[in-house]
Every structure is written in structure tokens, then in C-alpha cells.
Amino acid sequence: MKRILLSTLIVLGLVGAVATATRAAFSDTETSTGNTFAAGTLDLDVDGNNGTNTVKFTVTNMQSGNQVIKTYRLNNVGSINGYLDLENIVVTSNENGCAEPETEALDTTCSTPGLGEGELQNVLSLSKLFWDTNCNGWVEAGETSIYDGYVGAIAANYDTNKLVNAGATQCVTAQFNWWSNANDNKAMGDDLTLDINFELAQTTAQ
């Protein structure tokens, strides 16, 4: 039995020697090290404000015939392309009590002033809100409308999926017009607040 074990060990030793001799033959190695993976950035600023609110409009003492036009500059300051949407648009309208001409105009909310009762949203038009390609504030050929109508009828969301390449700027212009109409007097002294959220997303599905 001892002889059998000894023979086995000798055979294994020989096999090992042969194997070692084989690995010692010609060889070569190459490397692929330092492969890096860095995440891009998707970053939007509005008029240079990044992470801070941009109050664009503060208009007082409005009257029919007024026009107010301002342009937002939406800058993709990240490293990847993105798609712009307008989200969570909220209009808050206030009736602030009635001057005598409002009462005479049969303003039905005179007796219930407060939140949601103002008529300014029914006479003030956002005509237009549009993608302003050349950022000049005026609608020109090829520039697409986002909304055109009274402020009070604007939708909460516009999934426009407007492509903005990394490093590029897309302007959106808001033209507010108070065209004279029969209900002007009902809007006297009223005010409204308009909130808009701009969203830059990696994909169109967001």
C-alpha cells in the first residue's frame, strides 16, 4: 500500500513538472485599465437663475389696452441634451372688493371678494406664449405657439418636449394683452398670480 501511494505521488509530481514547464513557454500580456465612467449632468437655469425662483412679471395698475411682453431664457447648462416642458401652471385670481364702476357693471363677485373670485383672468390674454427661436419677443415664421388665450383658461401642463441641446438656450416669450371688451370694468382692482414651472428632462416620456 505504501508503494502504491508513493507511485501516485511520483506521477503527480511528474505531471506537475510537465505543467510548469508548459507555462514557462512564450507569452504576452496587454492591458485595458483605467476605463472610466462619468455621469453627465442635466441642468436648467432660467435667465441665469439656477435653483432660485425667477419672478418675471410684476405689473400693477393695469388697464385695458396694456401690453406686457417678456422673454424667458431657458439655458441648458448641463452636459447632456434635454427636453423642455411647462408644468404645474397655476393661476390664482383675486377679487379685491369693488369700486363703484365694478358694481355698476354688475360684477357678481362684489359680495364675495377673495381668492378665485377675480375677473382679471377673464379679460387678460396670454396671447401668445410661444417658443421664441431668436429670442426677440415677437412671433415669427417657424416659431410655435404653446398657448394663445385668456389667462384663466390656460392648462396646467404643456408636454412640449422641446429639444434643447447641452449648452444651448431656448427662449419662451409671454405676451400679455388686455384687449378692451365689455367686461373691463368688472376686472377693476382685481389681481392674479401666475406660477410656471419649467422642466428639463432627459427623455420625452418624463
Binding site: N53, F57, N61, Q63, G82, D191, D195, N197, Q202
Partner: protein, 215 residues
């Protein structure tokens, strides 16, 4: 049965994980909140009546007048400055000793509009603006058939004195009516004891061209 339920839960879990992964794409949001728009007001009131606001037109004999009647038009403190004024004048409640209602106009044709104008009463405060506007020149002087004689009939038939430009916070409307010493109608006795009520209506607006008052 337990295996089936367990399988379903695992599938739901996997779907949720996949969906969650989709929503986790990159996204950035910026806000433009608190954009405010506030409408102004346009409001005015008639101020205290100065002197003798002697209407209805009564107890006036030929050669007499009402004297210059004055009425302040005061634009409210927080009002938008209107730049357009309309004045509507009409007559009511005619009464006569010997004439009937159908001849009211004959009486109105005897009444002279001696003065009619708007005056800026704060000229010293705001210089380089109008002192007065001779509204009498706006009356169509052909209505009563006596060219060169501007009567109350002319004034009423002219209708609204429209598009009168105003700039001030306070203006004063002034009018003087009279019966001439010699009435246009030589049969002047028939107008004795006639009387008429004269109503004035004022309207202000932002711009010209708005029809504020009904004729």
C-alpha cells in the same frame, strides 16, 4: 396556491422596479412663481356743489340768468387718470302755465347757454395744462334754427359732448343759462311760468372712442 401568490408578488415587484428605473431618468426643474398682474381702477365722484346749483330752471325772467353754476369732478385717489370725459345733458319734467308738453322744445329754444366749460382748478399745482375748455363751442348751433344763438335746445340736441380731453385730478364743470332780454320768440309771454328740470350725466374713460353714456 401559495406559490402562485408568491409568483404574482414577485412579478409585481419586478414591474415596479422597472417602472421606478424609468422615472429615475435625469430631470431638472426651475420655477417662475409669483408673477403678479394687478388691474387698476378708474373712478371719480362729483364733489360738493359750489354756489347755487339752481336747477331746475325756474323763476328766471327775461334778462336774468342762473348765474355760473359749478360742479367739481374729482378723480378718486387711487384711480387711473382718465383722459376722456363725456357729458350728457337732457331735460325732464317740463311744466307750463299755458303750454303743453309737446311745445317744450319751443321753451328750450328760448334759453341761452351763456357759458359752458371745464376748468382746471389746480392750475397752480400742475402748470402747463389747460385752464379751461370752452365746451360751448362744441354745441351744434344750427338745431334751433337761429344761427348764432346757442340755446338749451341746441345743447340737448347736440347730445353727448364727447371726447373732451382731461388731464387733471380735479376739474370743474361750469354752466350758465339765461333767458335773453329779448327772447327769440317775440310772443314771449306764453313762456311765463314754464319750468324744466335739467339733468347732467358725466362719464370718464381711459381712452377716446368709448361710448360711456347712452344718448
Amino acid at each position: 396556491m401559495k406559490k402562485i401568490i408568491l409568483s404574482i408578488l414577485i412579478v409585481i415587484g419586478l414591474i415596479s422596479t422597472v417602472t421606478g428605473a424609468t422615472k429615475a431618468n435625469m430631470l431638472d426643474k426651475e420655477t417662475s412663481l409669483e408673477n403678479t398682474f394687478a388691474a387698476g381702477t378708474l373712478d371719480f365722484e362729483l364733489g360738493e356743489i359750489l354756489g347755487k346749483w339752481n336747477f331746475p330752471f325756474i323763476d328766471i325772467k327775461p334778462g336774468e340768468s342762473t348765474g355760473l353754476q359749478k360742479l367739481k369732478l374729482i378723480i378718486s385717489e387711487n384711480s387711473i387718470q382718465p383722459n376722456h370725459l363725456e357729458i350728457d345733458i337732457d331735460t325732464h319734467n317740463f311744466s307750463s302755465g299755458i303750454l303743453n308738453e309737446s311745445t317744450k322744445n319751443e321753451f328750450l329754444k328760448q334759453i341761452e347757454v351763456k357759458q359752458l366749460y371745464l376748468e382746471d382748478i389746480n392750475t397752480n399745482v400742475v402748470p402747463n395744462t389747460f385752464n379751461s375748455i370752452e365746451l360751448i363751442n362744441l354745441i351744434d348751433d344750427t338745431k334751433d334754427g337761429n344761427i348764432g344763438f346757442k340755446s338749451l335746445y341746441d345743447l340737448e340736441q347736440t347730445g353727448v359732448l364727447d371726447n373732451t380731453h382731461i388731464l387733471q385730478k380735479e376739474v370743474e364743470f361750469k354752466i350758465e343759462l339765461a333767458l335773453p332780454e329779448i327772447l327769440p320768440d317775440i310772443n314771449d309771454n306764453k313762456y311765463q311760468d314754464n319750468s324744466v328740470q335739467i339733468n347732467f350725466e358725466f362719464g370718464m374713460s381711459q381712452v377716446t372712442g368709448q361710448n360711456i353714456l347712452e344718448n
